[in-house]
């Protein structure tokens, strides 16, 4: 393989016979470690993203264990308060930017070209670059812990002036890491948009695309609109800290509340960046195991787009306590509550897809059903937080911690685990251990509720977040929560074993369609998915017959005729 050309260029060169006189377009991957450094293949890069995300999940999870161990009992037991603050800050940053977002980009890399009948991502070289920025940015972020003054300890929201005037020296490295992570995300989003808009199989219309592709297209636009705002915020932090500007310094005519506005103008869409692809994953899995077409496909697309648009109009519901006018509170409260309408449409459609279906509960379906139930709990507590007068009570308490962990752990993370179990046999050509996987599912799902559900009660009773010590009345629920946390953390050791065991020793799968009722172009390629797929673009009839939202043969015939 040439080291300076991409797979697609090789493909073109192979077709014209200009690549050293031989057609090497159908070779396999390069051998050795360099394969992973230089690869431009979407499957390789997807695998790299997923493993990186998994490692970061374990690192961020270890930090969560430190937090829960310290909170096991009242009083200071294990760590200094400053270190505790570093743990909460880095845990949040690593989970958001290092685990959840890269995992979804990994799924996008693997699945989008397979689902739209494309040979690869549109910009393979940029794809390689956007991945390889990540390990360096992640390492830089982690290295701040070992610097003079310690790592960032101002929370993942890095509000000024904590992150400017009163922050440790390592904050400049944190800023650089955020810049790099943002740059990587923007490049990934550009690639997703360029791929979906240009590389779809001829004849595949936008409304023929699987829901996972749709949700990722909308997510990519969210990334393009939100990440540069974050980059702007950290750039202003950088100049405030080092070049004498006063964007966020009241003493110089700036405004610290301005930082919160800018941060949440990025931060709220960021929440949807982490949950919209999860909606796509669940919309792929439920029809497969309910053995029914997805109910309300077009309403799902419009609901996703509505959620994305509304996400830019609700940011100040995170700031009800900053002293905004009542009219502002009313607007942001109603706008926030309005998001529950398209989200409700989605939950309704998933339930209706399952209604009277021939449901079987293989592991991916178990995770998908758990997602629907538990994400809805997170959504409801979000509604409670969106009500301005109630939020004055809940703000900065453990109720908020419980809410966003129900959304991001039992929502985003559960969907990623569901996706891995759903597509892993297609990726590696081996089946995971179903019995162990179900044990793991019940272990994780019970322990995660023991971990996060009591935090609602702690918050309602008034326990503030981001504290290493607390009053005695919070002791019992904290101990229960910590026990759940240790059990949930340990469940990931079993998950690691299940995945590694599947890849190395799993029973070989030969069927292209691993799940008998699965629909989608990815199930038409051999198992395991070959290194190069869709040399010939799929025909329109195949695209339509593999659609998970076409109900009847007559509808299929009508669509083909169009």
């Amino acid at each position: 393989m040439s080291t300076t050309t991409t797979d697609l260029e090789n493909e073109i060169a192979g077709l014209t016979g200009t690549h050293g006189g031989h057609d090497d377009a159908h070779h396999g991957p390069q051998k050795g470690l360099l394969r992973w450094v230089k690869t431009t293949n979407h499957k390789d890069i997807g695998t790299l993203y997923l493993w990186f995300a998994f490692i970061m999940l374990l690192v961020g999870g270890a930090m969560a264990m430190v937090i829960r161990a310290e909170l096991f009992q009242p009083g200071l037991q294990l760590v200094e308060p400053q270190f505790f603050n570093q743990m909460t800050t880095l845990h949040g940053l690593i989970m958001v930017f290092g685990a959840i977002m890269p995992a979804f980009v990994g799924l996008a890399n693997w699945q989008i070209p397979l689902m739209i009948g494309a040979k690869d991502m549109a910009l393979p070289r940029m794809n390689n670059w956007s991945f390889w920025i990540l390990p360096f940015a992640g390492a830089m972020l982690l290295s701040t812990m070992f610097m003079k003054g310690g790592g960032p300890a101002f929370g993942w929201t890095f509000y000024a002036p904590l992150s400017t005037t009163f922050a440790p020296e390592s904050t400049d490295f944190f800023i650089f890491a955020i810049h790099m992570l943002g740059f990587s995300s923007i490049m990934g989003a550009i690639n997703v948009i360029a791929t979906i808009m240009n590389m779809r199989a001829p004849g595949m219309k936008l409304m023929d695309m699987p829901l996972f592709v749709w949700t990722w297209l909308i997510t990519a636009f969210l990334l393009i609109a939100a990440m540069p705002v974050l980059a702007g915020a950290v750039t202003m932090m950088l100049t405030d800290r080092n070049f004498g500007t006063s964007f966020f310094d009241a003493a110089g005519g700036g405004d610290p509340v301005l930082f919160q506005h800018i941060f949440w103008f990025f931060g709220h869409p960021e929440v949807y960046i982490m949950i919209l692809p999860a909606f796509g994953v669940i919309s792929q899995i439920i029809p497969t195991f309910a053995r029914k077409p997805l109910f309300g496909y077009s309403s799902m697309v419009y609901a996703t787009a509505s959620i994305a648009l509304l996400s830019f109009a609700v940011w100040a519901h995170h700031m009800f306590l900053t002293g905004m006018p009542v009219a502002g509170q009313m607007y942001f409260m109603y706008a926030t509550i309005m998001i529950s309408v398209p989200t409700g449409v989605k939950v309704f459609n998933w339930v209706t897809t399952m209604w009277r279906g021939s449901i079987s509960f293989e592991t991916p379906m178990l995770w998908a059903v758990a997602f629907v139930i538990l994400f809805t709990i997170g959504g409801f507590s979000g509604l409670m937080l969106g009500i301005a007068p109630a939020d004055i009570q809940y703000h900065d308490t453990y109720f908020v911690v419980a809410h966003f962990h129900y959304v991001l752990v039992t929502g985003a993370l559960f969907s990623i685990i569901a996706a891995v179990f759903y597509w892993l046999p297609k990726w590696c050509g081996r089946m995971y251990n179903e019995k162990l996987s179900k044990i793991h599912f019940w272990w994780a799902v019970i322990s995660v509720n023991v971990l996060f559900f009591p935090q609602h009660f702690l918050g309602l009773a008034g326990m503030p977040r981001r504290i290493p010590d607390y009053s005695l009345q919070f002791a019992d629920f904290n101990m229960i929560s910590s026990i759940g946390g240790f059990a949930f953390g340990a469940s990931f050791l079993l998950l690691t074993y299940i995945i590694v065991d599947c890849i190395r020793n799993g029973e070989p799968v030969k069927e292209a369609r691993v799940w008998e009722s699965a629909k989608g172009l990815e199930w038409t390629v051999p198992t395991p998915a070959p290194y190069h797929t869709f040399d010939e673009p799929p025909e329109k009839a195949l695209i339509l017959s593999e659609s998970s939202h076409i109900h009847h043969v007559s509808e299929l015939a009508g669509a083909t005729a169009k």
Binding site: M199, P202, V229
Partner: protein
């Protein structure tokens, strides 16, 4: 996106080249939009001294 009628008259090589040409154009436009949003964020927060 290329229609199936157009695609049927193209060779595999022409199809790929056409798709990648479109992809480069899309990427340039989206990249410029992202840079524009970054600059706008900074510009809107600058105050005349």
């Amino acid at each position: 996106m290329i229609s199936k009628e157009e695609a049927s008259q193209m060779s595999e090589q022409e199809l790929l080249e056409r798709q990648r040409q479109g992809a480069r154009r899309t990427a340039t436009i989206i990249g410029l939009i992202a840079f524009g949003i970054f600059m706008l964020t900074l510009f809107l927060n600058l105050k005349p001294s």
